[in-house]
Subunit: 307 residues, 2 copies
Amino acid sequence: MSDQIRRVAIVGGTHGNELTGVYLVKKFEQCPQLIQRASFQSMTLLANPEAIRINRRYLDRDLNRCFAIADLQNSNLNSYEDRRAKAIAAQLGPKVQPNVDVIFDLHSTTANMGLTILPSSRHPFQQQLSAYLSDRYPTVRICYGVQSDQDAPMLRSLTPLGFTLEIGAIAQGILDAQQFQQTEMLIYAILDYLDAYNRNELPPLPSHWTYYQAIAPVDYPRNAAGELQAMVHPQLQFQDYQPLHPGDPMFLTFTGNTISYAGHTTVFPVFINEAAYYEKGIAMILTQKEHLRLDQRTLDKRALDQE
Amino acid sequence: MSDQIRRVAIVGGTHGNELTGVYLVKKFEQCPQLIQRASFQSMTLLANPEAIRINRRYLDRDLNRCFAIADLQNSNLNSYEDRRAKAIAAQLGPKVQPNVDVIFDLHSTTANMGLTILPSSRHPFQQQLSAYLSDRYPTVRICYGVQSDQDAPMLRSLTPLGFTLEIGAIAQGILDAQQFQQTEMLIYAILDYLDAYNRNELPPLPSHWTYYQAIAPVDYPRNAAGELQAMVHPQLQFQDYQPLHPGDPMFLTFTGNTISYAGHTTVFPVFINEAAYYEKGIAMILTQKEHLRLDQRTLDKRALDQE
């Protein structure tokens, strides 16, 4: 990898019913100057055009789970989304030597996660960018997925400098003007940061930063046939990133009984009651909150060569 | 029509991704005593099982627009939903002499409408029930659709004592425990009222009541190709039932320009930014707020014979 950011891709519509990213990409296609910066090239991509057309998450299979290396190499996988994933991997990837340095993949969630950045790796460059953004914009949170390496099946994993940007709570299939503008603001902030990096004019970075590390998903209580038996408890609904202590209410059965969190340590749930995760068997994802000293030794042009 | 309520139907899943009604009906199927009252029979129905199975609003066509008389009689209409509508009309209807006296059809919306009752007619019995509920539960609002006669295409129109119960804001495809419980409470309140009516023990009714009368839908600003050019303005988002004055912000274009409400009278928008209405060309429905004296002359057993 060069010590410069050369090419940046902004991706929307990986899920066809998450309209914030779709319409931001359409805006950038009409006004490309908004995402141009002097020191690198910017491009846009609508990842799942057929899903966008029918306003659904996907046609055959969740596109954002099609980017594992083995799946990309498996020629027997040829659903619409598998074919899209291979085409996108050829365009933005491949993983070993990607054509673009940085990817932002724009998503939204019915969970109340505000603006969340999910990095594709622990690359020092990404840690610095994440620390900067969460310091500068206190509403921005950083969350590492359970699998944050390059064999993860998400589109962001095409490059070690990939990010998923989530915003919520927002229903599928609608635009929320305020959340549209917040996401747009964050994109410009990232582009400006990348440009400053290239020009060796990085702003001061904080000495510490906070992130959330996903530990494990938790499913809804179900019966033997797999049918839901409970809902997220009203005290937990919309409380993403808030502490869940042992014994706190977690679910409420349809008959009105509370099911408490049975873990032994305080956790910080995210993706609470995300609509698209019912079918994945996920009611929420538990995270640990981590405070870390930012490694300042990498604060130079060689940050990109650290891994 | 008899002067007694004899049969009541509680319908869920007319839209397969509005889970509140689906899971309330499943609850009532498992615990039928919850909806039984001494003076009438209660039954439940999941209206669109295939749409529920795939967690979508509908397969081929919006079931809740298939109940116009001409469509029910048109044997050329044979999509999945058209066939379901005919079967449901045979079971609960027909419109001229329905098999059930009262229908509640349970829905949800991404608009911030709280608990809303949409009656199928202006029958005095319905006006009294609506007045009672909105007086007893100040969070319950009454809204008459643009078309509130028996030829309306909604399932509720199978009987002049039909109601749609809406709750929101809630995303499609999720359960919100608080809204589940609020809808459940309202169902029990209606059942208790019907039972009290049959036993001639109606509670005191208010002298006045307030309802919202739909006037006209408003579409999003679109270009010649039909593509969205703007979003609901942040100042209007989630402000269902609040006054919209001439000149107030209504939409925000993707480039950041405000489009104001150009009408000459104050209106009260509902279904603001409902996800399912993008495809119908509806950004919101404007209503007028009406305060009326309740006609107390019909407050007797003959209320059911007034129309």
